[in-house]
C-alpha cells in the first residue's frame, strides 16, 4: 500500500480579533503589550472530546480573548479516518492465476533475523506468485517480541522484513514489487510475558499491497 506523503490540508482556523483593545483597558497596570501569542488557534475537524481542560473558572463579566500559552491543539486521526473514504488495509488478490500460499507468516528465533529452513517453502510459494505476476506487490512487515528498546526493536523488525525481501529477490522477484517495513514491538500478535507469546511475536508478515 502506497503510504501518503502529501502535506495535510490546513485545518480550519479560528481567527483572533484584534488584541489592541485589551491594552487600553484601565484595569491593566502594566503598559506592556498583552501576553497572548500571535498564533491563531487551529480547531480540528474532528468532534472527538479533548482531554479534560484545566479547572473551570466562573464566567467573567468580560470574556478574556487571546491564545493561552498553555494551549495545545488536538489532531484526532481516528475521527478523520472514519470520515474519509474507506480504504481496506490488505485487499485480497481476487482470482489469482496461481493461488498464493495461505501461510503468510515467517517466525524467527530470539535476537535473530535468519530465515529458518522451515519457512523456505512458504517463501518459495510467494516468490512464484510474484515472479509470474509482476504487477503484484507485497509489503513485508517485521515484528519483534516486547523485550528491549522500542527503537532498537523497530530496527530489528526491519532486518527481519528485509531478510524475507532478500530471499524473495534471490528467488526472482523484482525489488520494486516489495517493500520491507517494521512495527518493532508495537503490534504484537500475542499478549503475554512468556516465551509462548514472545515466539509468536517474532515474525514477518507477508501482505498483499
Amino acid at each position: 500500500m502506497k503510504p501518503t506523503t502529501a502535506l495535510l490540508s490546513p485545518h480550519r482556523s479560528a481567527l483572533l480579533g484584534p488584541l489592541a483593545a485589551l491594552a487600553l483597558l484601565a484595569g491593566c497596570a502594566s503598559p506592556s503589550p498583552v501576553a497572548p501569542t500571535a498564533a491563531a488557534p487551529v480547531q480540528t475537524a474532528a468532534a472527538t472530546p479533548v482531554a479534560a481542560a484545566p479547572a473551570p473558572t466562573p464566567a467573567p463579566a468580560a470574556a478574556a480573548t487571546g491564545t493561552a500559552q498553555s494551549s495545545v491543539s488536538t489532531v484526532d486521526l481516528a475521527a478523520r479516518n472514519a470520515a474519509a473514504s474507506t480504504r481496506s488495509a490488505a485487499p485480497v488478490a481476487a482470482a489469482a492465476m496461481l493461488a498464493a500460499p495461505t501461510q503468510r507468516t515467517v517466525y524467527f528465533d530470539f535476537d535473530s533475523f535468519a530465515i529458518k529452513s522451515d519457512f523456505q517453502s512458504l517463501i518459495e510459494g510467494h516468490a512464484r506468485v510474484l515472479a509470474r505476476d509482476t504487477g503484484k506487490g507485497m509489503v513485508i512487515e517485521g515484528h519483534t517480541d516486547e523485550r528491549g528498546g522500542r527503537e532498537y526493536n523497530l530496527a530489528l523488525g526491519q532486518k527481519r522484513a528485509e531478510a524475507v525481501v532478500r530471499s524473495l529477490v534471490l528467488l526472482g522477484v523484482a525489488e520494486r514489487q516489495l517493500e520491507a517495513v517494521s512495527f518493532g514491538e508495537e503490534r504484537p500478535a500475542a499478549q503475554g510475558g512468556d516465551e509462548t507469546a514472545w515466539s509468536r511475536n517474532r515474525r514477518a508478515e507477508l501482505k498483499d499491497r
Binding site: P33, A55, A64, V72, E151, A155, L156, Q158, E162
Partner: protein, 461 residues
C-alpha cells in the same frame, strides 16, 4: 543555608508576557487581627488547606533516601484563590515539595503580597522564607497573579512579581512562581513551567499527551488508532517530532503544538524513526532504513534536500541524541555485536570519528545527555531486567538509579537535575521522575493505561 538574597534579576520569560516586578510594599499592613502566635503554631502543623477546585493530588512524593538539606518555606494561600477557582498555593506547594529541595510550612490565610509580615516570628517557627500573594480578576477577564517572597532569616523582601494571564494559564502562573522561588532560594532554575510529552495507550487507541511536570494540565496533541513512538521536542518548545504508524509503517512527522499543523518529515523506503533535533533547531538526525539496515541521517527541519548520511556501519545505528553544543551525536549501535552507546562527531560533510561510550554489560540503549554534557543516562539490560543507569562523561562508572526491572526512555529536565523515565508496575506502565542520585523519586500516576516514551520539553513556553 543556601539563600540567595538581594533583588537579583528574575528568570527570563517570553517577551510577550505581562509581568513586572512589584515595588516593596508602601504601606505598613499589619497582620490580620485574628492572626496571633498561637494560631500560627496551630496552623503550621496542619496541612495546607486546598481550595475547592484543587485537583486531588495524582502524584505521590516518595523520598527513598535520607532527606537532603531542605529549605523550609512558609506558604500562605493566595488571597481570592477559592473565588477565582484555582488553588495556586496548592500547586506551588506540590511543586516545591516534589523537587525535594523544600519543606513547606502551612500558613493560615490572611497574608498577601502587600502585607508586612512578622518575619522574626516565622523564623522562630522554623521558616527560612515566606511566600504570599493574591489573585485579582481584571475587567478584561484576565487574572493578575501577584506574589512576594520574603527572606525570614535576614528579614528582607526578596522578590515581588505580577503576572497577568488568561484564566487558562493560571496553572502556568503557579508553575512560574514555583520556578522563581526555586531559583531565588537555591540559585538553580526550576523546571515547573516546562512540559513533558508522553504516549498513552488505552486498548487500540494511542494518544500523544503534553502535561505539566506535576502530571496535571494534560492535553492531547495527537490521537491515533496506530502506535506513536519517540516524541522529540524542538529546542524552542513549539514543535514535536514523532514517529507515527498511521500509514502502516514508521514515518517521522513534525507537529506545531499550539496549532496542530503537522507535516511529514521523513517517509523513505522502509522505516523512518528516532528523530533528534539539533540544538539550533535547524536539522534533525533521523534513523532511515532506505539503504538497508537502520542508519543515522541528517535532514533539514523545514524539509527539502536529500538526507545526508551520518553513520556508515553495516549494523543497526539508531536512537540519536545531540550534545548540547551540537558537536556530537550520541547513538546506539550493535556494530560490536550487541547494542552499545557510541558517539559520532558531526562534521560539515556528515559524520566524523566514532567512539564507543558504554562498556559494561552487553545491551545498552536509549541514551540521554544532560544539558551540561557531563552525564549520560541510558537503559542497560542486566540479567533479564532493563534498568536506568547514569554515567559521568567521559569514562565514569555507571550507577543504577532504580531497582525496577522494566525502565525505558530516560529524558533529562532542562535544568539537568531530574530525569523522567517510564517503568512497569503492576497494572500498567507509569512515568517516574528521579533526582540524579536516585534518592528522590516521584510517580505520575496513570489510570491503569500504559504510559511510555516520556520526553521533557525545554525551558520557555
Amino acid at each position: 543555608m543556601r539563600l540567595v538574597t538581594g533583588l537579583a534579576g528574575v528568570a527570563a520569560y517570553n517577551p510577550g508576557d505581562v509581568m513586572h516586578a512589584l515595588p516593596p510594599p508602601q504601606h505598613n499592613h499589619g497582620p490580620p487581627a485574628a492572626w496571633n502566635r498561637r494560631h500560627w503554631l496551630q496552623a503550621s502543623g496542619a496541612a495546607l488547606a486546598l481550595g475547592p477546585a484543587a485537583a486531588l493530588a495524582q502524584l505521590r512524593v516518595e523520598i527513598t533516601g535520607v532527606g537532603a538539606t531542605q529549605i523550609p518555606v512558609a506558604l500562605a494561600p493566595f488571597r481570592d484563590e477559592p473565588a477565582i477557582g484555582t488553588a495556586l498555593s496548592a500547586i506551588i506547594k506540590a511543586n516545591l515539595e516534589r523537587s525535594g529541595a523544600f519543606r513547606i510550612i502551612g500558613v493560615p490565610p490572611g497574608l498577601d503580597e502587600r502585607s508586612t509580615p512578622d518575619l522574626p516570628a516565622f523564623r522562630g517557627q522554623g521558616a527560612d522564607a515566606l511566600v504570599a500573594g493574591s489573585l485579582t480578576r481584571l475587567a478584561d477577564g484576565r487574572i493578575d497573579v501577584r506574589m512576594r517572597l520574603w527572606d525570614a532569616v535576614r528579614g528582607t523582601d526578596l522578590l515581588g512579581q505580577s503576572n497577568v494571564v488568561l484564566p487558562a494559564d493560571l496553572r502556568l502562573a503557579a508553575h512560574r512562581i514555583s520556578d522563581q522561588i526555586h531559583e531565588k532560594l537555591t540559585g538553580e532554575r526550576g523546571v515547573f513551567a516546562t512540559r513533558i510529552a508522553y504516549v498513552l495507550r488505552t486498548g487500540r487507541r494511542f494518544t500523544l499527551h503534553i502535561t505539566d511536570p506535576d502530571g496535571e494540565g494534560g492535553q492531547i496533541a495527537l490521537a491515533s488508532p496506530e502506535p506513536i513512538i519517540s516524541p522529540a521536542w524542538s529546542p524552542d518548545g513549539k514543535r514535536l517530532a514523532y514517529v507515527s504508524f498511521e500509514t502502516q509503517k514508521a514515518v517521522v512527522w513534525v507537529q506545531d503544538v499550539a496549532t496542530g499543523a503537522r507535516r511529514v518529515l521523513a517517509d523513505f523506503r522502509g522505516s523512518n524513526s528516532a528523530p533528534a533535533w539539533s540544538p539550533d533547531g535547524r536539522r534533525l538526525v533521523v534513523t532511515l532504513s532506505r539503504d538497508g539496515p537502520a542508519q543515522l541521517h541528517l535532514i533539514n527541519a523545514e524539509g527539502g534536500g536529500a538526507p545526508q548520511r551520518l553513520t556508515t556501519s553495516g549494523a543497526i545505528d539508531t536512537e540519536a541524541v545531540w550534545s548540547a553544543d551540537g558537536a556530537f551525536v550520541y547513538f546506539v549501535s550493535d556494530r560490536g555485536g550487541g547494542p552499545q552507546v557510541y558517539r559520532v562527531a558531526v562534521g560539515a560533510s556528515g559524520g566524523g570519528a566514532v567512539e564507543r561510550i558504554t562498556f559494561q554489560g552487553d545491551y545498552n540503549i536509549s541514551p540521554a545527555i544532560s544539558p551540561d554534557g557531563r552525564q549520560l543516562a541510558y537503559v542497560s539490560r542486566q540479567g533479564g531486567a532493563f534498568r536506568l543507569m547514569l554515567q559521568e562523561l567521559p569514562g565514569g562508572t555507571p550507577l543504577a538509579l532504580t531497582d525496577t526491572r522494566d525502565d525505558e526512555s530516560p529524558s533529562f529536565a532542562p535544568n539537568g537535575r531530574l530525569i523522567v523515565y517510564a517503568t512497569r508496575q503492576p497494572g500498567g506502565d507509569v512515568l517516574m521522575t528521579t533526582t540524579l542520585d536516585g534518592k528522590i523519586k516521584t510517580r505520575l500516576l496513570s489510570s491503569g493505561a500504559d504510559m511510555r516514551e516520556p520526553a521533557w520539553g525545554p525551558f520557555g513556553r
